[in-house]
């Protein structure tokens, strides 16, 4: 029920507030009524046919870095 998946925006239709996203190989139409300033190639979190939020590539990188560092603590 609370499943949400990261997907990449590949087309935007501003008149209807809809976008086409790619989830791996699968393409889907989703509403972008809940997010602001999305652009092609942005990654968004998809839930029940809506983009909920943008995913920050910088923050994702930082979190992955934290995982790697966890093993190095003394």
């Amino acid at each position: 029920m609370c499943l949400a998946l990261p997907a990449k925006i590949i087309a935007i239709d501003e008149t209807t507030d809809m976008a086409t996203v790619a989830l791996g190989e699968v393409k889907k139409e989703v509403s972008i009524a809940l997010v602001e300033d999305v652009k092609i190639n942005d990654f968004v979190l998809i839930h029940v046919g809506y983009a909920l939020n943008k995913i920050s590539p910088e923050e994702a990188e930082r979190t992955l870095q934290l995982f790697a560092e966890a093993g190095l603590t003394e």
Binding site: M1, C2, L3, A4, L5, P6, K8, L23, G24, V30, S31, A33, L34, V35, E36, F43, L45, H47, V48, G49, Y50, L52, N53, K54, I55, S56, P57, E59, A60, R62, T63, L64, L66, F67, A68, A70, G71, T73
Partner: protein, 394 residues
């Protein structure tokens, strides 16, 4: 490879995190960490995260599965709505098999001829309304803050389009109210039969509401909260962050899921919800009973889209299925394996209670991924103390 998914499931990093947790946790103490959200419960079981933790770090499963906490009376209401020949009831798939009173479910009434349609999105429900102008299309809406904004968008859109045959049976509930209710419950507060040392904050709920709403009870109840992503490495990193806070005696709101969650959350979505919905004075939760200001209702200015008003939906108080321990499981007081019906009478194919229906329910997660391991290993040492009048079932 799926970006932002596969990297957060890497086995080598899981081993690193696992050894860090072993190193940093104090063997002399117990760490009981409650994951509020069913999405975390699901991830913990699916990826065997508990097996990567030392003996003294335990996950306690909370009530954050919207299907599981919906009281039976509300499903009875929805079934009643379908008995009106003019109604098409649209809902998310998870609700179809939830047992209602009299061994009914939406799936069963559909098989008997009621017009119940499973939709993936509120946009689908709007489409059905446009295509069936002579029918009343009711969207049976459930979910936490994550799922509420799409309902609000649909209501606004229906108003804009002048769709006269669309309405929403609103059952949206609020996360902070439920967490507070658990912390205030006598089982947790006074009798300390359930010791919760820290919380995993929900991922997707927080993407909407932000991390700020948790600050109040981290302070008030002096419990650490770490907002955690739903992938297994997110859960492990967050466990490590909680362990560090507990070791230091801190009780702060920290955010592990920074790639999506900010302190303020999604303000556009919040504004949309605030325009269409308002707090309900009281709402019944399965397992928690009546919780004040824990749910939303449709505002007077959008009353024409409120199915409760349009169809004069009555308040039904139905009792839970006999023998089903969902209410106690949802409070973290019992485990699925404590239920006599678990795995015998009650399975995902033939669920007796809501916790076995949704894949985010604790019973379904135990059955699908953890059943045998849980039976072999030592169970969590939580002894329930029954208090008369708190549980509304049995």
């Amino acid at each position: 490879m799926i970006k932002y998914v596969d990297e957060f499931r890497r086995h080598d990093l899981a081993q690193l995190l696992s050894s860090a947790i072993k190193k940093e946790s104090d063997p002399q103490r117990q760490y009981n960490l409650m994951e509020f959200c069913g999405g975390h419960t699901h991830a913990i079981f699916r990826y065997g995260v508990q097996d990567l933790m030392p003996e003294n770090v335990k996950f306690v499963h909370g009530p954050g599965c919207p299907v599981c906490v919906l009281p039976i009376g509300r499903i009875d209401n929805a079934i009643q709505l379908t008995q009106n020949n003019n109604v098409i009831l649209c809902t998310y798939g998870d609700l179809m098999r939830v047992p209602a009173s009299g061994r009914k479910s939406l799936l069963k009434v559909k098989a008997e001829g009621a017009d119940v349609r499973m939709v993936y999105s509120t946009q689908d429900a709007l489409k059905i309304a446009r295509e069936n102008p002579n029918k009343e299309v009711v969207f049976f809406a459930i979910g936490f803050e994550t799922t509420t904004p799409p309902t609000a968008v649909a209501i606004k859109q229906a108003k804009k389009e002048g769709l006269k045959n669309f309405s929403v049976f609103c059952n949206h509930v609020l996360t902070p109210a439920a967490i507070q209710n658990i912390l205030e419950s006598p089982e947790v507060r006074e009798m300390s039969s359930v010791v919760i040392d820290g919380f995993f904050g929900p991922s997707h709920v927080s993407s909407i509401i932000g991390s700020q709403p948790y600050e109040f009870f981290a302070e008030e109840f002096q419990k650490p909260v770490v907002i955690a992503g739903f992938e297994p490495l997110d859960v492990m990193q967050s466990a490590l962050m909680l362990i560090r806070q507990i070791n230091d005696g801190r009780h702060e709101v920290e955010n592990e899921y920074t790639r999506v969650v900010s302190r303020e959350g999604n303000q556009k979505a919040q504004a949309l919800v605030a325009e269409v919905m308002e707090l309900r004075r009281n709402f019944e939760w399965r397992g928690l009973g009546m919780v004040p200001y824990s749910a939303l209702q449709i505002k007077q200015s959008y009353a024409e889209f409120d199915a409760e008003k349009r169809f004069a939906v009555p308040q039904i108080h139905a009792s839970d299925i006999k023998g089903c321990e969902c209410p106690r499981i949802l409070r973290g007081v019992k485990k699925p394996t404590d239920c006599k019906l678990f795995g015998t009478v009650c399975t995902p194919e033939n669920p007796m209670g809501s916790c076995m229906v949704s894949s985010e329910g604790a019973c379904a997660a135990y059955w699908s991924y953890g059943r045998f391991r849980q039976m072999k290993s030592k169970p969590v040492e939580i002894t329930p103390i029954e208090k008369k009048g708190t549980a509304e079932c049995q």
